[in-house]
Amino acid sequence: MIRLDNVTKTYKGTVPALRDCSVEIGRGEFVFLVGPSGAGKSTFIRLILREETPDRGQIWVAGWNICRLRHWKVPYLRRNIGCVFQDFRLLPNKSVFANVAFALEVIGRPKSMVTAQVPQALDLVGLREKWDCLPSELSGGEQQRVAIARAFVNRPLILLADEPTGNIDPGTSAEVTRLLDRISRTGTTVLMATHNDAIVNTMRRRVIELDNGVVVRDEDEGAYDAPVAPYDVPDAVAASVEPTSAGVEGLR
């Protein structure tokens, strides 16, 4: 579904944000993308969305070589990809329903499809009753669920989430992640960049770790931190790895 072959990306006048990355992600997989701040997680996601193009290497998304994709075809690529961000990016003057419907309307989908699929998407995220609320009347977690509904309403092949839990409390974060997990079970490939160690450690899914633009770990059923030999784990680091109880509770 997603394949990066030796991808290098350097922003103008900086060190490479991604260096010689090769990753393959299959259909319906749920993958965590972890790594310290500045490791290149957002860059990874922007490349898949073709908001950026790599300097070297090839990227395949949903069967397209997106480095060779013509400019005018980019929107059609993006119709196969749903996106969720830390800051939700909902339109403040539109209701929940209108926000989700917007994603279908602006790609020219007929009204019948809008009236059929938007309620389904809202059901999926459990916000059907709040369809008429404005985003400002919702909690952060609810707003993020609306964003997920918007990303999913067109039934994308891929769902990218860049720190979707960055702005919400641990309990709600777990809920949001579970929702993404449910979506991945429908066959949608989910790639979630996150700093939330509790969630990664609880879910035990495939983990790709970036550091300084390099893939340093790609592990199935991985944890937030690399398994390390006991003798070089300082106590301070080990303590910081402890999952927060709230996050774990939320996932149960």
């Binding site: 969305l49 005018w72 929107p75 996106c83 990016r89 339109l91 602006v106």
Partner: protein
């Protein structure tokens, strides 16, 4: 991809309303500049009617008496044909004179009605080999039998042409500057509209709306501003042309008496004004969306 009319109309409507001050400024500028363009075009056509006789560089017209017998007319024609100083002569018979007369006095129907082809003088239109010898040709023919009078282009139309020429140049150059200003205003209005909706535009790009889908409402907004201005200008031009006609009929304005704008000319002018409005609107907004809506 289906661009639903409903969507485009709604988006364009909200944009125009949100930026109504900018919209008014853009529409007014387009209106003023296109009114000037329209006036200049009308003037050009009016003058061209007024100077039909002098088309093709004719410098001299020899008018015969309306009742002059054919042999007198032939004598004048032969003389003109044989003169070294004459480069070219054309003969305008009574039917031809009548046609010209009708064009020139189209806005004085009473006058046209009262005249018949037989009342009008036939004439020779003369182009001299050398402009300095026009006077000489004229005085040679004046004494011929049957010649009523000789009219020189210089005294008849030169002033008119000079005055209207300057007026046209001034009108057109002011109009060009204003049109450029109008295009910039429209561009700016579009830019502001896009900026005001940047969140929406960002979401649209993210979910895969095509560039055209995003652009069309903004481009339409520019075209509507251009059209709005053009519409005002069309009204202004119509009023000006009416006033011109009215004043020619009711006052004795010697210089402009012969300036006539026919309905046909007016129609063409209005059409040109409308087209220019669309072009300015589309041009301004195309630049606006190109600079600010790149993927």
């Amino acid at each position: 991809m289906a661009l639903s009319l409903d969507y485009v109309a709604r988006e364009t409507g909200t944009n125009l309303w949100r930026n109504r001050l900018m919209t008014v400024a853009a529409v007014l500028t387009v209106a003023v500049s296109l009114s000037l363009v329209g006036a200049a075009l009308l003037l050009k056509q009016g003058v061209s009617t007024a100077t039909t006789r002098w088309k093709g560089g004719v410098q001299l017209a020899v008018f015969m008496q309306p009742q002059a017998p054919p042999d007198q007319t032939r004598a004048v024609g032969d003389k003109l044909g044989s003169m070294q100083l004459v480069k070219r002569t054309t003969f305008c018979d009574q039917a031809c004179s009548y046609k010209e007369f009708r064009t020139m006095f189209a806005n004085q129907p009473d006058l046209v009605q009262s005249a018949a082809p037989a009342d009008l003088p036939p004439s020779f239109r003369v182009v001299a080999r050398d402009a300095n010898h026009v006077q000489q040709v004229g005085s040679t023919l004046k004494p011929f039998a049957g010649v009523r009078n000789v009219v020189y282009a210089k005294q008849s139309v030169d002033t008119l042409l000079r005055v209207t020429g300057i007026a046209q140049a001034v009108l057109l150059s002011v109009a060009v500057v204003l049109l450029a200003a109008a295009a910039v205003l429209i561009l700016n209005a579009i830019r502001m509209a896009i900026f005001a909706r940047r969140r929406e535009v960002a979401v649209m790009k993210l979910v895969g709306a095509t560039n055209w889908f995003i652009r069309v409402p903004y481009m339409l907004e520019g075209v509507i501003q251009g059209l709005g201005g053009a519409f005002v200008a069309v009204c202004v031009v119509a009023v000006v042309s009416f006033l011109l006609r009215y004043s020619v009929q009711h006052y004795d304005v010697t210089l402009f008496q012969s300036i006539v704008v026919s309905g046909h000319d007016l129609f063409l002018t209005e059409l040109a004004v409308l087209l220019m409005g669309i072009v300015v609107g589309a041009g301004g907004s195309a630049l606006g969306v190109r600079r600010f809506l790149e993927v």
